[in-house]
Subunit: 265 residues, 2 copies
Amino acid sequence: MPTHNRHNFSAAERRGVYRAIYERRDIRSQFLPKPVPDGILGRLLDAAHHGPSVGFMQPWDFIVIRDGAVRGAIRDCFLEANRDAARRYKGERRRLYGGLKLEGILEAPVNLCITCDRQRQRGAGLGRQTDPATDLYSTACAVQNLWLAARAESLGVGWVSILDFDRLRELLGIPARALPVAYLCVGYVSEFPAVPALETAGWERRENLARLIHFDRWGAHDDHRASVLAHVGQAVSLRTEYHPVHASEARTRPSNRRRGRKATE
Amino acid sequence: MPTHNRHNFSAAERRGVYRAIYERRDIRSQFLPKPVPDGILGRLLDAAHHGPSVGFMQPWDFIVIRDGAVRGAIRDCFLEANRDAARRYKGERRRLYGGLKLEGILEAPVNLCITCDRQRQRGAGLGRQTDPATDLYSTACAVQNLWLAARAESLGVGWVSILDFDRLRELLGIPARALPVAYLCVGYVSEFPAVPALETAGWERRENLARLIHFDRWGAHDDHRASVLAHVGQAVSLRTEYHPVHASEARTRPSNRRRGRKATE
């Protein structure tokens, strides 16, 4: 039984993993101009490179974008796509949408485009015959590794999905075989908000986990058992275990801030 | 500058994040029958539920599968798909393929099917007009959260991608609007191998990260700079920083094992 050997994490190491998961945010408004050292950026890329991949295919490439002119052109690409996207909404939703900040392309000192090479020969196709999308999933998992490592390094990441991807491909010279999966803004931040920006803005709320759990078959819900599972999970996410300051306390008790306790936002 | 405030991780917390990233393995052969307590499973599901999602869509559902008959039917589904997949390889590759263990459906006490509801209304479509695949990427990121949390809890996870997914959908009663993204085996393990099983088996090797880094534009390689980035990253992955035992040492020094030091494999 793996209870007392070197495979196990210490309490602090385990807390680090859960902190990264729960305190990770999609950052758009809080970027600082402070440069990201190559040493830290290298760690993030290597974390991504150690993502799981179907057949050990490692289908990813990383374009590191610091050039201001390139970022400017990509920002224009965002602005146009965002105008089109805004037209889809009416009334209150339109008003809400207009108030959202959805990228930090120019504020963040580093941008990253992470692609998936659909024709990479590594892995010899293992695991891809039955689901050809698995290489895309692998690339998304690599992105998540990078995002969590960034949080551990106090770096914020924002994923920009409102782009004309054909135009992005042109701007970055990406060949047809490689699909841009993620366009990320990376930089130090003034703060990590306690809750997702889309929740603060009233755009959407977090679903109750218990409603998303099925047992042995789709639709086979068991309210009691699902609640137990979700409740235990939430005990972690609400930081009763790994952090003394509760996220909602940070919001309802401004005195914490006045005392200089910046809590976990 | 975020240098000495509560946003920052302690050295041990940061080490936990990198340990999870580098010591995560796709487990097939090492599962133990020891049950996974609901409390721990709940943490894993909540970790997944805190994955990033486009527009805060949270497109995932979780089917928790413990029933032996259901797992048996899914194992049969794997066996058939695997026979078909094996036919694709010839000669030495075929021999190698035949020796690979690619699932632990029956050995692992818990299986999870994580789906993506392509029609979920949460998020009101934000970020999806320009790339409709972003909901799938969100679901894959949720899987990676779960995988890393599992590693922190000393639980192994294996992602089975060799399945007839239409048959799986039938077996689990998954409606047409939901796509099975990941089928996972979850359980305690006898060990976490130091290197991926596909590397040990001679199926594939890890690519040199430096070759995957481009600067400002696809194809704009800078060998020196890329090597610096990759080298710094590797310093972390080779555990010189966060762990006293070097992965390659664990392999080349069997005496470590004889002394009862199970290292990090």
